[in-house]
Every structure is written in C-alpha cells, then in structure tokens.
Symmetry: C2
Subunit: 200 residues, 2 copies
C-alpha cells in the first residue's frame, strides 16, 4: 500500500494530507472515464494510491463514494428506498413528490443539473447519468412492478419527471414554473401511476 497523501498540493500542511479529497478526485476521474457500473472501489483506491479499505472507511459503499464525488448533497439511493416503501398504488405520488422536493431546492438541484448538462454532448457523462438513473434509482423501485415492459415503463416515468424538472426549473415555462407542488402532484401522479400499475 502506498501511503495516503503521496501527491501533495501546494499549501497542504505536512501531516494532514487530504486523503478524503484525493479519493474523491480519483473517484470523479474513474466514474467519468468508465461510468458507474464499471468503476470499482479497488480502481478508485489504486488511482488515489490508497488501500481499498480506506475508501470503505471514509465512505462506505461505491454508491456513497459516487454521492460524495458528485457532491449530490442527498443520497438518491436512500430517496429511492423511501419511494419504494409504502403502498404500490401510491408509488407514483411518492416519486413525484420526492422528485419535486429535490429539484425545488437549488442546493440539491445544482449537482443533478450539472450531471444532466454534461450528459448532453458528452458520451461518458451520458453513460454515467444513464447508469445513475437505472442502477441507483430505478433498480430500487423495479421489484415492485409487475407485468410487461417493466424497465421501459420505469424509464418513461423517469422521462416525464426529468422533462418536468427541465421545463419547470430550468426553462421556466409558465404556468408550470409557478404551479404549486400539490397542483402538479394532482395532475402528474395519476398519469405516472399508469406506468406503475397499467391495469389499475
């Protein structure tokens, strides 16, 4: 094992190497180069010049490294678990409310917007966002759905939500931008519930 802090930046105090920062820098580079699925904690550790155990010590799972590296400020895996918990016939409503609350707050919106912006025009950023949506978010909800085309239906739900976030918070189309959360839930949740329970 190479010691942490082997590459010291200017102004860094000896004896207080920014190991955590080095791991995050390595993680950003690995995720950007390979996407989420093909990146391993081992590869992140190797790039940072530390033992994989140290990555686990600082962050826990690979998903947590991702959340920290992308500065997501919230953990989408935990949010997806919350959406998945509860009655399946109200799943769409929970999904819409969670999504609007994350995008409605500029602090939690910013990193997702950055991911989305990079993904338009950069293949590897698109790969990263794709795997983030499917492996971290939709994978949690997937076991609750029955019937044909489950993955397609989930991605169409995600499509509607991503598009709504774009038109409401970025493009600011009116009256969508000024509509209350409850107005939107009343219109969008029953629409999306068709994808959750097509026969329901």
């Amino acid at each position: 094992m190479r010691g942490p802090g082997r590459r010291r930046g200017p102004g860094r105090r000896p004896g207080a190497p920014d190991t955590r920062g080095e791991i995050l820098g390595a993680a950003r580079a690995e995720f950007a180069a390979k996407g989420f699925d093909a990146t391993s904690v081992r590869a992140i550790a190797a790039r940072a010049g530390v033992d994989p155990a140290l990555v686990h010590h600082y962050f826990g799972t690979k998903e947590k490294v991702f959340v920290a590296a992308m500065e997501l400020t919230i953990d989408p895996a935990e949010l997806a678990e919350t959406v998945a918990a509860g009655p399946v016939d109200e799943l769409a409503e929970r999904f819409v409310r969670m999504f609007l609350s994350v995008w409605g707050n500029p602090v939690t919106r910013a990193p997702f917007l950055a991911l989305l912006r990079s993904a338009i025009g950069h293949e590897t950023a698109a790969l990263l966002l794709r795997q983030f949506i499917t492996s971290i978010v939709l994978a949690r909800v997937r076991p609750l759905l029955d019937g044909p085309d489950v993955d397609l239906r989930l991605e169409l739900m995600a499509s509607h939500l991503v598009g709504t976030a774009l038109l409401r918070y970025v493009i600011k189309a009116e009256p969508l931008a000024s509509a209350s959360e409850d107005e939107l839930v009343a219109l969008v949740a029953p629409t999306l519930q068709r994808y959750v329970t097509p026969g329901g």
Copy 2:
C-alpha cells in the same frame, strides 16, 4: 435604407454580398439577446442594416427567420399544425409520433439538442427555448383543449416528450433507446392523452 452587404467579410466576392447570411447572423444575435417574443423583424433588419421588407422577402414571417437562424431544418410551426389537424382523441398519438420522428433523425435532432443544451445554464437561451415551446409549438395545439389548466396540461405533455427524447436519444437508457416507435406510441400516447382529454 442602408445597402445590403455593408459589412463585408474576408473572401466575399464584390457584387455578391451575403445579405441572407447577414440577416441570419443579426437574427441569432437578436433572438439570443431578447428571446423570441420580444424580437421584431424590424430590429433584425436594423441590426443587419437592411430594410425590413428584405427580411420578409428572404424568409417570410418572424417564425421562418427563427427556423432558418436556428438551422432547424424543419419548421416546428408546420409540424404543430399537422399535430393539431385530425381527431382530438388521437392528438397525443400524433404528437408522440411527430416528436419521435424529429428526434429520431440526427439531422433534425441536432439543432434542438443545441437549443436544449444552451438552455441549461444560460438564462437567455432558456428564455428562447421557453418561448419557442409555448409560442410556436403549444400555441397551435392549445385551441383544441378544453377544461381547466390547459396550459399546464400542455406543458406537462411537452415535459414528458422532452424527457423521453433526452433519455432515449441522449442518455440512451435501455430498453428505452432500443424500443420501437410503435412500442413507445402504445405506452406513451394513452398516457399523454390524459392531459389532452382528462375526462376521456
């Protein structure tokens, strides 16, 4: 009236001033600075140093100038008219098919993608895209809808379609990216029809 071709670029042949090109450059600058609604043919002409009649001569309406300036290769106003024509209970299906055919072709997709990309992070580009969506596209379909929240319902339709385009053609989430147009129409059109005819 100042003469066309008053600002000559390098390599331009005398006697063949690129008046059309100057008008388009002026139009891009005006649209980018003020958005679609606040830009007038008169202001574009003034910036290009030509008579407004010449702008009409080359392009027709302000919308046609916009289509040419943004290199849209297709006229969204005409497509929106096509979507609006026909039975209202099949409006969503026509909208989905039109949208997929425009985004499915890299040549017609590219300028919309460029608009979308600029809109993420640039206020004036967002303004331009917002007015494009509401004033050029949705305004054509609007008279066909009844009931409450017509504009909100139209923008939610647009949200779903923009999000689907993003996940299918840009982020390339599977199986959405490989699904056939007919599969998508079968799932998305009835979902969106809820926004067209909520009681239907």
